[in-house]
């Protein structure tokens, strides 16, 4: 995935689309947008950085997982097998991007009314007490669609494709705009690149 920070306006549509797609319960965000100030007055400005799971090639979360619940598919997507996760939260601490959450309980938004049928459908694979994270909308990918955050972005700041193919749109964008990854020095080799504004 490539995120063009010059185009990002910090609207959080990606975050909302992610919530809607995955039916995440209150307190659980698979995606967030960090706002921060850069530069000094009078040249100071507000900047935004959307942060999904980086689907690293050398994931810190996978390295520490004691039960083999976290795994990396051949196409590079990092997933959690909820039937294997015992909820030690070692991965939540180890992820340098804070992309993982411990699902302590599944709360609902509507109090005594309980969960909506939509939430129940979306949350059917969630397991209380396990680690949860962004899966690049793997269900949608298998149907040939784009991840919800990519499809939704109103300023078209996000691109999704095959990093192994040097001619894919994402590879070309990274090469032309000198895309960077977050915290490269940690050696996690993220698959999410940023084009800096």
């Amino acid at each position: 995935m490539v995120i063009d920070l010059k185009r990002c306006v910090g609207c959080n549509s990606c975050t909302v689309a992610c919530r809607a797609e995955n039916g995440t319960p209150p307190g659980i965000l698979y995606h967030r947008v960090e706002k921060y100030e850069s530069g000094k007055y009078p040249a100071a400005r507000m900047q935004f950085r959307p942060i999904p799971c980086m689907h690293c090639q050398e994931p810190a979360c996978l390295e520490v997982c004691p039960t083999g619940a976290t795994y990396r598919r051949e196409d590079g997507i990092v997933l959690v097998d909820h039937n294997k996760c015992m909820g030690c939260r070692y991965c939540v601490l180890a992820c340098p991007y804070e992309a993982r959450h411990a699902l302590r309980r599944i709360n609902n938004y509507y109090g005594p009314a309980g969960r909506t049928p939509y939430e129940m459908l979306r949350q059917k694979d969630l397991d209380k007490g396990t680690a949860v994270k962004c899966d690049f909308c793997v269900d949608r990918l298998e149907k040939g669609r784009l991840p919800a955050c990519v499809e939704t972005c109103p300023s078209q700041a996000r691109y999704f494709g095959d990093l192994d193919d040097p001619e894919s749109e994402v590879s070309v964008l990274i090469a032309v705009h000198r895309g960077t990854v977050l915290r490269e020095e940690l050696g996690t080799k993220p698959s999410v690149y940023y084009i800096n504004g």
């Binding site: 950085r49 942060i51 619940a69």
Partner: protein
């Protein structure tokens, strides 16, 4: 760049703090008890100590189980050996289990209700068990420092200065526990026996002061997040509970105790010093685990 409002991690709380404390304490207790069990003066107290050590580690392990989000899947720690290649948590699970089993197997035959066990503590096999458990005890004491130390996203933990700190503190608290056990056997231990324990403990405290000082100063210089963690760590509770009453005061008490010849006064002094050491050991781990600030991403 400054980390404006640093917050310690919230994922691991009291149960992990207690585990890290009990693992160091249990490992240290067993190690000292095993070594001193060969000295007549201490053999009765050490016999209890070799039993208490594995039991404390087992209690700590139970704390970890309670901390899990899905306890029913904890068995997976023993059914997925492939992750032994990468994860310190699963290595720890095997090390803890091995130590608890071997430690108990060594300690139990010394008690009359377990004389049905087909081996003696003093036999070659029994001693072998003891030596193996003692080696594992060292690993059990160091291991929490590795469990935390490999987490790259938390600079307060991600330093090679942490495992030696936990190791020395484990030894220090373990010896304190043995002093407390020895209080019940004071006629056998005698004033000289307490003097020797006090002298060893004073030496350990000095090493621990060096290790703690080096740890704090090195982490403080290791970047903005690390410096923010150290500011969070240095609370009045940490300085008074760990540094002053957990290390400096017991050091002074042990040294003063060496100059006393009345067994009752030495017992009292060493007993209080040991309780202070145990409290300091717990607060040290609480501080380090609570103050683990995550690196800023951008």
């Amino acid at each position: 760049m400054v980390v404006n409002h640093p917050e310690g991690q919230k994922e691991w709380g009291w149960l992990v703090v207690l585990y890290v404390f009990l693992a160091g304490l249990g490992g240290g207790t067993f190690l000292f008890s095993f070594i001193l069990s060969f000295v007549d003066t201490y053999s009765a107290a050490a016999q209890i100590g070799t039993l208490v050590g594995p039991l404390l580690v087992a209690l700590g392990s139970v704390m970890l189980l309670f901390d899990l989000g899905s306890v029913t899947r904890a068995y997976r720690l023993f059914t997925t050996p492939a992750t032994l290649l990468s994860s310190w948590m699963i290595r720890g699970a095997w090390i803890l289990t091995g130590f608890i089993i071997l430690g108990l197997a060594y300690a139990l035959p010394a008690f009359s209700s377990f004389d049905w066990l087909p081996w003696e503590q003093t036999s070659g096999f029994g001693l072998g068990l003891g030596v193996a458990a003692a080696v594992l005890a060292i690993v059990v004491t160091v291991y929490p420092g590795l469990l935390l130390g490999v987490i790259k996203s938390i600079p307060l933990w991600n330093t090679s200065a942490l495992p030696p700190l936990f190791f020395l503190s484990g030894l220090d608290t373990g010896l304190a526990a043995l002093v407390l056990i020895s209080l019940a056997f004071s006629p056998a231990v005698g004033v000289e026996g307490f003097h020797l324990l006090g002298a060893i403990d004073a030496g350990l405290i000095m090493l621990l002061l060096v290790a703690l000082g080096a740890y704090i100063e090195i982490v403080r210089q290791a970047g903005v997040t690390a410096a923010a963690s150290i500011r969070l760590l240095m609370t009045p509770l940490f300085i008074s509970g760990v540094v002053v009453s957990g290390l400096l005061l017991p050091l002074a008490m042990f040294i003063y105790g060496i100059y006393l010849s009345d067994v009752q006064s030495v017992r009292l002094l060493d007993g209080i010093a040991s309780l202070l050491i145990l409290t300091g050991g717990l607060l040290l781990r609480l501080g380090i685990i609570r103050s683990g600030v995550r690196i800023v991403i951008r």
